[in-house]
């Protein structure tokens, strides 16, 4: 039988690569994603790795995974269950088997399936024998073949075995009829200074590809045609890179230097790293001694006239609490990016959750309103980072941008915007030597104060954390003034809503169920709603990016639907937020707190249940 006879056309495929956290599975997954994206598929990815850098080898706790979903139509999630699993050892199989579709293909490195490793993974039986009727196992002696391949190379055993991920990748490339050239080019660039490593990796990659072709054991060869997506220029982008780039773009549009004061924290660190690498764009990064210094240096930079940001995750946001209040009372522009992870406390550093919503909204002393925005896909982290910066500068306020571990590490193809797709950012600078300048004079429409920065002649003034006198900004303990200023600060944030776009539903206007979500759950909610509508049911999705202030037509839309469910990865914080702010708001809730995204299966089940109840 020729290869062509066995080709199976698939609309979409989910692959999960898994191994020890040192096995290079993240790289393997990223390579397959990039190749598929360059091939023209729509792709969505989700890395799933432990918090420990090198957890004990061969244990379930040390398994690092990378799931990707690609298709020839629009792909909105990394997929619930895998068609193909690559398991580099028994622990990887054990940790991931529940995520493989029944009948799915499992490539295993049979060299690693020794009695010792099986025991280390907690198996007291042979999992392949036990599960062989439910899955298509492809055992491959990956370690042995990799070693054989490189026997002529002057490399130590450790370096040789490090290339075995390329063998697995080569096999999967063959399985899905993918070219090797993109990965070969990547290897040439990555190891440009070590030609031996380039050659070794390329050889092993090709060996894997050839092995897969040779063995008749492979059950089938899939083909996923390129997706029909909107014409344009695309690139693959992760949420964290998109966030960094959105901020740089905003600084460019505002004509302000960008300053980022941050402290490394999972899963936000890549934003700081990407900004640190962008000296070519003139970005200044300050890796501070702690989270507090991170935000404080940013506040200092804002006072000095930069577009300032600080990036963090939940526990870091808690540490920034007091300083964010200072930014509120001094009415300085500041973007605080919070890449949410499982909490409380250290919680689940590498897992996703949406449980910092109320902290973002309310976690400050005193009445300290600010703007809260949430991105909803890896690529639109760019748009919402840009918007956060625009609102911060034009409204002279701190803005908290919420993303999450799923968005931050996930990636998808992104249709690149043209420069004119982004509005100019108008900086409310004061005029030097304006004799009437007062630091707390406000624009009558927007209540925004003018921004005078050190270096501007004749506008010397003092600001600080003590209550300000309306207008002059001098310290004031006058009771009525404090009430007035408290209300000004609140109203100023409310007025941001005047310039926000109206929120729209996706799906049936006359839906029997309105699904409500916010932030990073968009892909899953949208896919579930889409699938359930295909079954002929009337459902719509209302997904929020503007958390505070809410879009102005929120009440109006919510009032149209009787049957509503708020779905979120927490105990119901957004539902609570809507109950407090939308008159007579009642809803069902669907919550998940597993450090994992929703699955489409569980969402559909819940929606069907709610539709039947009706």
């Amino acid at each position: 039988m020729s290869k062509k006879d066995k080709i199976v056309e698939k609309e979409q495929v989910v692959i999960r690569f898994s191994g020890d956290s040192g096995d290079g599975m993240q790289l393997t997954g990223t390579q397959f994603s990039n190749t598929s994206a360059l091939f023209g598929n729509d792709v969505s990815t989700f890395p799933d790795y432990p918090a420990e850098i090198r957890a004990p080898q061969g244990t379930v706790g040390g398994v690092s995974g990378f799931q990707l979903h690609f298709g020839h139509y629009e792909v909105n999630t990394p997929g619930d269950y895998a068609d193909v699993l690559v398991a580099m050892n028994p622990a990887a199989l054990k940790a991931n088997l529940i995520w493989v579709k029944r009948g799915g293909t499992i490539i295993i490195n049979e060299d690693a399936f020794t009695e010792k490793n099986l025991a280390r993974a907690g198996y007291d039986f042979d999992p392949i024998r036990k599960h062989k009727r439910d899955y298509q196992f492809i055992p491959a002696p990956i370690s042995t073949l990799t070693k054989g391949c490189l026997s002529d190379f002057e490399l130590d055993n450790k370096s040789i075995l490090r290339t075995k991920n390329m063998f697995a990748l080569g096999m999967v490339y063959w399985l899905f009829d993918r070219p090797l050239k993109y990965t070969e080019k990547f290897l040439e660039e990555k190891f440009a200074k070590k030609p031996v490593i380039v050659e070794a990796n390329k050889l092993v990659l090709r060996a894997g590809f050839n092995f897969a072709e040779t063995i008749e054991a492979l059950p089938r060869n899939y083909k996923v045609a390129p997706a029909r997506i909107k014409p344009g220029t695309y690139r693959n982008i992760s949420g964290n890179t998109a966030t960094a780039w959105g901020l740089i773009t905003a600084a460019e549009k505002a004509g302000l230097p960008l300053f980022c004061g941050s402290y490394p924290i999972t899963p936000a660190t890549e934003i700081l790293q990407e900004l640190a690498a962008r000296k070519d764009m003139g970005v200044k990064t300050f890796q501070a001694e702690d989270e507090i210094a991170g935000i404080c240096t940013a506040i200092g930079a804002a006072f000095a006239g930069n577009l300032a940001c600080t990036t963090t995750s939940g526990p870091g946001l808690a540490l920034k609490t007091e300083a964010s209040g200072l930014a509120v009372i001094t009415e300085l522009p500041l973007v605080i990016v919070n890449v949410q992870r499982g909490g409380p406390s250290t919680g689940l550093p590498t897992k996703t959750e949406q449980s910092d919503l109320l902290q973002a909204l309310h976690g400050r002393s005193g009445e300290a309103p600010l703007v809260v925005i949430a991105a909803s896909t890896p690529s639109n982290c760019f748009d919402y980072a840009f918007q956060s910066a625009r609102i911060a500068v034009e409204h002279m306020t701190p803005v908290i941008l919420l993303t999450d571990g799923f968005l931050a590490n996930g990636s998808e193809p992104w249709r690149l915007p043209a420069e004119e797709d982004y509005p100019e950012i108008k900086v409310p600078f004061a005029t030097p030597e304006d004799e009437n300048y007062l630091p707390y004079n406000r624009d009558k429409e927007t209540l925004v104060r003018e921004w005078a920065i050190p270096g501007m002649k004749g506008l010397e003034h003092r600001i600080g954390g003590l209550e300000k006198m309306d207008g002059s900004g001098n310290v004031s303990y006058v009771p009525e003034n404090h009430e007035l200023m408290t209300k000004y600060r609140e109203d100023k944030i409310q007025k941001v809503a005047d310039r926000l776009p109206e929120i729209k539903i996706k799906g049936d206007e006359d839906a029997d169920l309105l699904v409500i979500g916010w932030g990073g759950t968009y892909g899953h909610l949208y896919s579930a709603v889409k699938e359930i509508r295909k079954e002929g049911k009337k459902v719509a999705l209302l997904h929020f990016n503007h958390i505070w202030p809410l879009p102005k037509n929120t009440n109006e839309i919510l009032a149209k639907y009787d049957n509503k469910v708020v779905c979120e990865l927490n105990l119901g914080q957004f539902a609570y937020h809507l109950k407090v702010n939308v008159p007579n708001f009642e809803c069902e809730k669907f919550n998940k707190m597993q450090g994992l995204p929703f699955t489409i299966v569980e969402l559909k089940e819940k929606f069907n249940q709610l539709l039947e109840k009706k």
Partner: protein
């Protein structure tokens, strides 16, 4: 009118706000000295930013007719670091007390010094928490009886100079509030020094720790109990200029200059520019009554600053950068084209 032709005076640096320190507070004299120093410097007034934390001394920016930022407790160093890094053209002064700088702000204090950001950090040290009405601070002496240590403290104090040098500080000076002339001289040197300049000013709190430095300000005895160090000059002190410091083994020793005994030639000559911090640490740590307390610029060593390094690095990268516009970055690397369906 051309700014450069107008010579500003200390008065030009006073704001219109009523100064609200207690009558007799040492802060008044320190503020006068800073305003005098600023008038001497050639930094335009609009380029001066005064950043403070929380505490009595931290009200300082409100009384200055410059750009000012009264921030939050302990964070002045971090905020000042951001100001200076964002705009290295500014002359940035940080005003903190002993609690603000070395208790709640201790972490920022040492890291700012380690980075050597070009700030003038003035630490008002009255060895007490004044604004919260009299609790011990990290510089209160062991055993100090205060409102929060009614039976005496059981913890050792920080010595600011030792801490600065331990954090790889390049500039450390000490003054005392009443000596406006000396303070002004030191503030000028601190401002001219490129890098983090820390000036500890021994300051009296008339209400909660009155006379805490009285041994050093006593009219009759002050010259016998303090030594004013000046680079290149022998370490001689005393009302009669008859005492000096020598190195005896691994320690400093006070000796009396007498005919036939020790002479001026035996006395150590102060070298503030020496990179090795050994003698500087000993000088900074001298305590009365074993030693005179050192005033003046104890350490002043040149080193590359953080803010300038940041600028240099950006310039260097930009010289060989393939692009400096976002639009070019977006379209660089692995991109692909999706064409219209035919």
């Amino acid at each position: 009118m051309d700014q450069k032709t107008v010579k500003l005076t200390a008065k030009d640096y006073k704001s219109d706000q009523e100064v609200r320190w207690c009558p007799g507070c040492g802060d008044f004299a320190i503020m006068n000295s800073i305003q005098k120093a600023m008038a001497e410097l050639d930094c335009p007034k609009e380029n001066v930013a005064v950043i403070s934390g929380i505490g009595c001394s931290s009200r300082f920016p409100y009384y200055m007719n410059t750009y000012g930022f009264h921030t939050i407790h302990g964070r002045a160093a971090a905020i000042a670091s951001g100001v200076k890094t964002a705009n290295p053209d500014l002359c940035v002064w940080q005003i903190s007390g002993d609690g603000d700088a070395m208790a709640i702000g201790g972490n920022h204090f040492i890291h700012t010094i380690r980075r050597n950001i070009d700030l003038n950090m003035i630490i008002f040290n009255n060895e007490i928490y004044g604004l919260t009405k009299g609790q011990y601070s990290p510089t209160s002496p062991f055993g100090a009886v205060t409102k929060s240590s009614p039976f005496g403290t059981v913890e050792q104090p920080f010595h600011p100079g030792e801490l600065v040098i331990g954090a790889q500080g390049k500039f450390f000076a000490r003054s005392i509030d009443y000596n406006v002339k000396l303070s002004t001289e030191i503030f000028l040197e601190a401002a001219r020094h490129k890098g983090t300049s820390v000036v500890e000013v021994l300051q009296n709190c008339v209400i909660y720790n009155d006379a805490c430095h009285a041994m050093l300000s006593d009219k009759e005895e002050k010259d016998n109990r303090t030594i004013i160090l000046r680079h290149g000059e022998p370490m001689i002190f005393g009302k009669e200029k008859d005492m000096g410091l020598i190195l005896d083994g691994l320690k400093l020793r006070v000796v009396k200059l007498t005919p036939g005994g020790f002479t001026k030639d035996d006395i150590l000559v102060h070298d503030a520019h020496e990179n090795n911090p050994g003698i500087h640490t000993m000088l900074a740590n001298m305590r009365y009554p074993d030693y005179p307390v050192a005033l003046g610029v104890i350490r002043d060593v040149t080193a590359v600053t953080y803010d300038q390094s940041v600028v240099n690095q950006i310039q260097k990268v930009q010289q060989s950068a393939r692009f400096t516009k976002m639009q070019d970055l977006l379209y660089s690397g692995n991109t692909w084209e999706i064409k219209e369906d035919k």
